[in-house]
Amino acid sequence: MSDSQQTHSQTQTRTSTTDSDQPLETTSGETVEETKDEWVEYDFRGEAKMVAEDLDVYYGDDHALKSVSMEIPEKSVTALIGPSGCGKSTYLRCLNRMNDRINAARVDGSVQLDGNEIYQDGINLVELRKRVGMVFQSPNPFPKSIRDNIAYGPRKHGDIETGLLARMLGRDDSNEERELVERSLKQAALWGEVHDRLDDNALGLSGGQQQRLCIARCLSVGPEVILMDEPASALDPIATAKIEDLIDDLSEEYTVVIVTHNMQQAARISDQTAVFLTGGKLVEYADTDQIFENPRSQRVEDYITGKFG
């Protein structure tokens, strides 16, 4: 245990022993210290795959994320919940530097992947986003065949070479590509539904199938972390259930971080839940069981039980 974690544990003890007579949250006058107290109540298990420390994000003058520190354990599902505009998607996008694509965005603080800082000069963003993939709210397959959707990334990265030129150069990875397409689609629980029409246009698939195709596409480049931004919000309950099953399976091999507005979904599928509230603050981060059974923060309690305003 590092020195800083040691300090946090002591803080945790102090917080829990005085829990009954010391309100953790007030609607005004909250301090950064208070937020940290709640964060450290999370009993961290397993290795941290990603660690954010004192992460601040500004969109121009808007301070969208305030001093968020949070460890994401590997091979588990971490859910980020909170009202619109609370900073959860902003935080998610920091994890593979997608915010770099927004000109007005400025990021301060640190994010580490396997202990290595991703916000350092000279980092290879393509490589980073291979390792930390992303699936978006609306399924966004390329207007290409199912096969091409999966093989596009690996071809682009030069991991596989196929076609006439490859054959002329004495390299033909057709078999590897076939295997990769099959493996990725199987991992995304889509193979059974599409194996006999791999050359059909992906846009002909249903919404749920398209989303699983996007997950397969993400898997094809061999990520370690998968970020999902409301991956099931545009899907019906059956497609949603398939995505949720898939997330559960994926978490055995991958580290999954999911933003969702659907609190029941967070409760169903995640191992730990982080609650962001208005103002870009991480208010509480704990085992999902604890968040939904007995949250420490009154504001989190009010949010998840629907007592707004």
């Binding site: 609190m263 029941q264 409760a267 939904f292 059974e293 007995n294 949250p295 309690e301 998840i304 039980t305 629907g306 007592k307 707004f308």
Partner: protein
């Protein structure tokens, strides 16, 4: 259902559970009085009026299931509905025990074993039940723990009473030739042991209610 309606439903559920507990407590109190005074009419009244409690129980159980299904309560709300759901079962069982006590009164129109203070045992059990429901009504965690502590006292009283009856039975000289007297004595002894056991169970249900209430208030499953 809007969130305000949902909060109102939770408030109503609490009121309804408390009303059911008033009804059950009243039934138990009357059963104990009937037992004490050998009042057959009062006993018959308690024994035949359990249907209303059962119906209320099923109604409220259904209310809880609907709240789970339609509102998917979490946090305090979840603990409240889940605890109420369990407490209802305990109350219904206490209602059944009141019926048992009434039936014991009806089965024998006489008093025996005057030296066993059933009234003290009954009063303590009733008090524990009453306090458990007060804790539920007022979210009183300390009272919950207190009830759990008092259960040992009740258990001791019950054990002493049972031992006393059995010892008395062993020491009593019965004319073996008088079959009727032997039968009657056996009947009285077994009935008294059943009464003691049922009153002890009332205490157990009171502790269950306290345990669920403690979980409801502090998310502390210590007594469960």
């Amino acid at each position: 259902m809007t969130r305000d309606d949902f909060q109102q439903s939770l408030a109503n559920l609490r009121t309804d559970v408390l009303e059911m507990s008033d009804c059950v407590t009243d039934r138990l109190e009357r059963a104990l009085t009937a037992l004490e005074t050998v009042d057959e009419e009062a006993a018959r009244d308690v024994a035949t009026a359990d249907d209303a409690i059962d119906r209320r129980y099923l109604d409220l159980e259904s209310t809880c299931i609907q709240l789970f299904a339609r509102q998917q309560p979490v946090a305090t709300d979840l603990r409240f509905v889940a605890s109420s759901f369990k407490i209802l079962t305990d109350l219904e069982r206490v209602g059944d025990l009141a019926v048992n006590l009434a039936q014991y009164t009806l089965a024998a129109d006489r008093k025996r074993f005057e030296e066993v203070d059933l009234s003290a045992i009954g009063t303590l059990a009733l008090e524990m039940l009453d306090d458990a429901m007060t804790a539920y009504r007022t979210d009183d965690a300390a009272l919950c723990r207190d009830i759990a502590d008092r259960d040992d006292e009740l258990d001791t009283l019950c054990q002493r009473a049972s031992e006393r009856v059995v010892r008395d039975l062993i020491e009593r000289e019965v004319d073996n030739g008088d079959t009727w007297a032997v039968e009657e004595l056996m009947d009285d002894v077994s009935r008294l042991l059943l009464i003691v056991r049922d009153l002890e169970r009332v205490g157990d249900h009171a502790v269950n209610i306290a345990a669920r209430t403690l979980y409801m208030v502090e998310s502390d499953p210590a007594l469960v």
